[in-house]
Symmetry: C2
Subunit: 348 residues, 2 copies
């Protein structure tokens, strides 16, 4: 039996061959009525028409799939939001998202060279940017590549980057707290060095100098090592209990009036312990964090987030990687570096 | 120039050809030292050795990729946890996860037939099980397939299934609350019908009859329609504000002693509003939910979750789909149906 062709599908669906082609092509930007698409797909299914993806990708070397390298569990909301943004962005361009972990990054380069993937997106985190060996392989083989949240932004990278503007987030939060009458801040931050933590600490120091607010710093027990254990799934989160106690103790030392005091957490995940500590210490103490946490700012009074545009960042990364897979002239065009500012999310 | 072979890589790395083969094969279960693997990979990179994945998959019809169909945003923690479990499970078997949305489900079937994917996992939700047209295509073409959380579990499916035992979760929570002296429950549930909601409501009715606890029901403003708008990203979550007020009002009607009263939410996401309502109404009122919510049960007193084993369910789905891609005898073996019970997560 001969294999059904586009022409057979068109005849069965009662549409033109080009309509069939558009309807079956995920990447087509031609607007077709959903009913038409569905009619074509049904005809294709009924005839057993199979677009031979493997043969096609051998010819075109285009798998229409992007490898997304994430060294973190999706159960951390921050990374889930970035991946969701990338997935949505890719989908709207007819690309699929293939999830890789960090140990699979270099094999991802092989997959691009073998035509199984069209490009790679690397999602940075904590103290981790693009690993040197991955960077070298990318550059050597001209792999379409985008890095998001790697805290570089120096503009010198040979690939496109998306970053969050942490310093602006700090300024927004401090300005908001100052307006609310706050003159003393307990700053709760993890015991790790990273471009993001450095940018925040620096901006906070500037604010202290310029706005006159007094900043006390409390370093949590979170280190690069505890993070690794947590990501592997064999650490409990019980440091939260300690954290409540430590914050409560530190609040006593901050020694300002409760209504003029705020706890500012670098990490959204610590805002819950901070809120718990504040609500037992003195419910007039405000809580803010430099990334959104799990408590709803709409539900709990005196809670403020600097909300990072995570999904938007993911969409930007998708846009950039798709553009990168298209540009054979990539070497001649300077890569784009996007910086996204957070937005304030304050309780009523 | 001739293309480098496995032999060339072995010579450069100073290892045997079979070691190279194992080291470059993601699916190999042979334990190799990470240093050896790295040495082989480096040699392969330096020589420009490319495993021709496309040609290989044409021969073997094995892409070593599984399409995971999710019609929900990953920003909902429940689905992120299931996807994380699937990704980890697949990874340990050398498979990759390719993320598909619901509109791409039927094209996923085409991709399996074309050899771009090895099988499909469908993640159910709310009122949505495996769509009829997808089920028909799966059965017709013998596509390796697993459905998770589709609330069927009748055992009649022609494919493997993973489900959560919601009824057991209800019994655990009620028993826990009874022990704590609770005799009146305000049950907060969405206005949707689904196998999960039905199983919960039924189990709660049984508990009411058998344990003598009195149950009042409050139906939230969440319907299938509001869910769709929320998933599309254009609904705000402000129903939470209303919900706090409505729960506070309803608590007044429950008319038991506060220390003998509990709010039980069907959805984890509503537990935060319930906790807020309880803390303003009377902090002695307990809060529980039949799925974990965002508040930490370790931090907030009188909070109890029935925690669904979401990641474990994802791992089970990965195990079953990998087995399914291996079994050419799939038609002769009855598909496996896994049911996982939740565990109680109560505050100190």
């Amino acid at each position: 039996m001969t294999r059904p062709t586009l022409r057979d599908v068109a005849a069965r669906a009662g549409v033109s061959i080009s309509t069939v082609s558009y309807a079956l092509n995920d990447a087509s930007t031609l607007p077709l009525a959903e009913a038409t698409k569905e009619k074509v797909r049904r005809a294709a299914r009924e005839l057993g028409y199979v677009p031979n993806g493997v043969a096609r990708s051998l010819q075109a070397r285009a798998s229409r799939a992007i490898g997304v390298i994430l060294g973190k569990p999706l159960t951390l909301p921050r990374y889930a939001a970035v991946v969701e943004g990338i997935a949505r962005g890719l989908r709207s361009d007819g690309f699929r998202l293939s999830l890789l972990d960090e140990t699979g990054a270099l094999r991802g380069v092989d997959d691009v060279r073998a035509g199984n993937l069209d490009g790679l997106v690397f999602i940075g985190h904590d103290d981790q940017g693009v690993p040197d060996d991955l960077r070298a392989a990318i550059v050597e083989h001209g792999v379409p590549f985008v890095a998001i949240d790697c805290g570089v932004g120096s503009g010198g990278e040979r690939y496109a980057t998306v970053d969050f503007d942490y310093a602006t987030g700090v300024r927004q939060v401090v300005a908001h707290l100052r307006t609310a009458g706050v003159d003393a801040i307990l700053y709760v931050r993890p015991g790790i060095d990273s471009p993001a933590e450095d940018a925040r600490a620096l901006a906070l120091r500037d604010e202290e100098r310029e706005s006159g607010v007094v900043v006390h710093t409390l370093t949590t027990s979170v280190t690069v090592e505890t993070i690794a254990r947590f990501d592997a799934g064999d650490a409990d989160r019980s440091h939260h209990d300690d954290l409540v106690d430590r914050i409560a103790e530190a609040l006593a030392d901050v020694g300002s009036r409760p209504e003029a005091t705020a706890i500012v957490c670098a990490w959204g995940v610590d805002a819950e312990a901070a809120y718990r500590a504040a609500s037992t210490h003195d419910p007039r103490v405000r809580v803010a964090s430099l990334a959104a946490g799990s408590l709803s700012a709409q539900l709990w009074p005196r809670l403020t987030y600097s909300r990072l545009p995570l999904e938007e960042g993911g969409r930007e990364a998708a846009r950039l990687i798709v553009a990168s897979t298209r540009g054979a002239e990539a070497d001649t065009v300077a890569p784009e570096h996007v910086s996204l500012a957070p937005a304030l999310d304050a309780s009523h």
